[in-house]
Symmetry: C2
Subunit: 300 residues, 2 copies
């Protein structure tokens, strides 16, 4: 009998797992079901381009139904699992929960933004990890310019014209760079804003930007940003956010209406509901073959 393979998650991990199974499995050897909450894979490296308007949102996604041939795409959210019974529970788009049985399960649920208990952060800061957030961020920059343009008081205008990004990894640095570029292109259309100028601030707790790449390249990116008038505060963290300001660990208070939070990720919260072994960071524990600890037929 054909195997049931269930893949939870349609990001890079889940999508390429499905693609690869389609390629290497003999025809009809398995029924592969991919469960994802949207019908596309977000090509995350291009997300900053979508935020800055250099790319159309539809050009930074891969439509799963077009790319997958034999895999059954099931739209819905994985809500839990029972590995002892070999089932995953999925809540469908129309709110029904059903059980999907599997012979082999691949968990590729990805990550969500990591937040810290900083006062005001959850209420007043924006994330930058999903496509709607990228679009919202671009719209927000435009709305801020429009709002500033209607104000008589320069101090009030300054709040709308200041943008603080916290976290100088790839997403934060590239996101800020694209949006600042976009804003610099259009500010000529806003007579008052143009005269006053904007303020773009990148805040990073570590001693340099982009620790994921080599120092010389990060150094180059940093010089480039500073030459464009972007302020970079290293060895600095965020202490508080209000609707109108960001307070940094060095005591500096930046009057700003927009604070974007891009300091890393944590495992998807559903991972904790799967009945599988996780480490203290909430990540699944696997062996070198990506087999989840204690389970013969679960992979992550």
């Amino acid at each position: 009998m054909a195997w049931n393979v269930v893949i939870a998650g349609g990001g890079f991990g889940g999508f390429y797992a499905a693609k690869t199974l389609e390629k290497i499995l003999p025809p009809h050897a398995a029924r592969v079901t991919l469960v994802n909450d949207v019908n596309f894979m977000l090509y995350t490296p291009l997300l900053p381009g979508a935020a800055g308007g250099a790319l159309e949102p539809r050009h930074v996604v891969v439509p799963l139904r077009e790319e997958l041939e034999t895999t059954d795409l099931r739209l819905g959210s994985v809500v839990s699992a029972e590995p002892d019974r070999n089932v995953v529970r999925v809540e469908s788009l129309h709110g029904k929960t059903e059980e999907l049985p599997y012979d082999q399960l691949i968990v590729a649920l990805g990550s969500v933004s990591k937040t810290f208990p900083i006062p005001g952060l959850a209420e007043h800061a924006m994330g930058f990890k999903a496509l709607p957030e990228a679009i919202e961020l671009r719209n927000r920059v435009l709305r801020c310019l429009e709002a500033a343009e209607t104000l008589d008081d320069p101090a009030e205008r300054a709040e709308w014209l200041s943008f603080v990004f916290v976290g100088a990894g790839y997403a934060g640095l590239e996101g800020l760079a694209e949006l600042q570029d976009f804003a610099a292109d259009i500010i000529d259309l806003y007579p008052r804003c143009r005269t006053q100028g904007m303020r773009w601030v990148l805040v990073e707790a570590k001693e340099r930007v982009m620790t994921e790449i080599q120092p010389s390249l990060a150094e180059f990116a940093q010089r480039e940003l500073r030459s464009r008038g972007i302020e970079i505060c290293l060895n600095t963290s965020l202490n508080e956010v209000t609707p109108r300001s960001a307070t940094l660990s060095d005591g500096c208070v930046i009057p700003a209406r927009t604070v974007v939070w891009t300091t890393g990720v944590k495992p998807h919260p559903v991972v904790a509901e799967l009945g599988l072994q996780t480490d203290e960071g909430g990540r699944l524990v696997t062996d070198r073959n990506l087999r989840v600890a204690g389970r013969e037929n679960v992979w992550a």
Copy 2:
């Protein structure tokens, strides 16, 4: 001293009024302020194209700041006026209300969807007049296909695969045509939906479609739609909408999750707050020069 001209509304009327004043007024003869709630003019004839995905949303709008040179664009909503004092009250993006004085006022606030007290209409039907509605409609068609694909019961699937448009004027007919075309293009990607097929229904209270154009052309459009499998119910109106059905005046109940309402427009509700003379339909009363009745310096 230079005149203050205030234009309320940045649609076809307001935008072209500003454009024309820029062209014909001597330099510095007047300060022209255009008040609008968004910084673009929606090119409404292309809205169905945006709904169907044939056009990018950004390609169906005219950016007011780029198109207007000397006109001051003020983003905000007109909330009322006092013609005896020659002021308009505007609520800005950040929630402050302020008074704009004028020497000449042009009212071009446009229209909003006209609804009737049909049970369930306000709660369960969608409008199709603004850009977000066009985008929402396209996304909804996609979500309906995805939802139907997850269902085992053909009758339940039929609800998600049925789309009812009420009102066969330009917006309704063209909107339905573009969306049905879009859906027909992608249904191949949905194995269950493809087998079952979709249902697209156009409901019109009058005896023919598109009364705004000549009968022979309307006849052609109608034949075209019918040849594509679209059902057209003439001399029929909508009696009730539920989340899962539309009931027509001929007693027919269509199981459908999507009902779109495109039966005409009424004046923008703010028009009633301007202290100007309106007719029983709520429209401003003007003379043949578009001067509002009883006011020397107000135009509509």
